[in-house]
Amino acid sequence: MIPVDSPAPSFTLNDHLGRTVSLTRFRDRRHVLLLFYPLDYTPT
């Protein structure tokens, strides 16, 4: 796992609505919660 207190690796992905989302967009604006999961149709 990435260590706590380390800089978060950047990413750019599409969200569930097809919009492009980059981590940098949230800098100084929002905290970010990332939920990783192994497979679709499994619990969040």
Partner: protein
């Protein structure tokens, strides 16, 4: 992406069921895993988020303005055996618009199909009708639903 966060389980070929919290300054403040077969404790995570938010002393922007919502007179027209109509209906459900966006199935309502021809010029579904404005392309319909209901990023 999971690999960069150390959460890709290469031996299994899947991503771990894990949670990462990044503060607005771009620093990782929390990482945890419940294993792929496990279940997250949402109440515990919510409490942790509040705790981290309270401790954060950097800048955080005000929440974005609420989205405008669909016009009160918006109505969705669909037809049977049409993948584009199904797409529009899925979007309606996924965006929680069941109560605010009435649906008319023109395959079972000839008068509605004629109304669609009169208002929009084409007897074609799916269509999103807002007064005299009619969208016929399913992507345009879904995009409008998203813009109307989702906060800006």
């Amino acid at each position: 992406m999971a690999d960069r966060y150390g959460l890709y389980l290469a031996d299994k070929g899947i991503t771990d069921r894990a949670t990462v919290i990044i503060d607005a300054g771009g620093t990782v403040r929390h990482v945890s895993s419940v294993t792929p077969a496990g279940k997250r404790d949402i109440a515990e995570l919510a409490a942790l988020c509040e705790q981290l938010d309270a401790a954060y002393d950097g800048p955080v922007a005000d929440p974005p303005p609420a989205p405008p919502g669909l016009p009160d007179n918006a109505s969705l027209y669909v037809k049977d055996h049409c993948m584009f109509s199904r797409w529009a209906l899925f979007a309606r459900r996924n965006l929680h618009l069941e109560d605010g966006l009435p649906v008319t199935n023109v395959s079972r309502d000839p008068a509605a199909l004629e109304h669609l021809r009169t208002v929009g010029g084409k007897p074609q579904a799916p269509a999103l009708v807002c007064g005299s404005d009619v969208l016929y392309e399913s992507k345009d319909i879904v995009d409008l639903m998203v813009r109307a209901t989702q906060p800006a990023l």
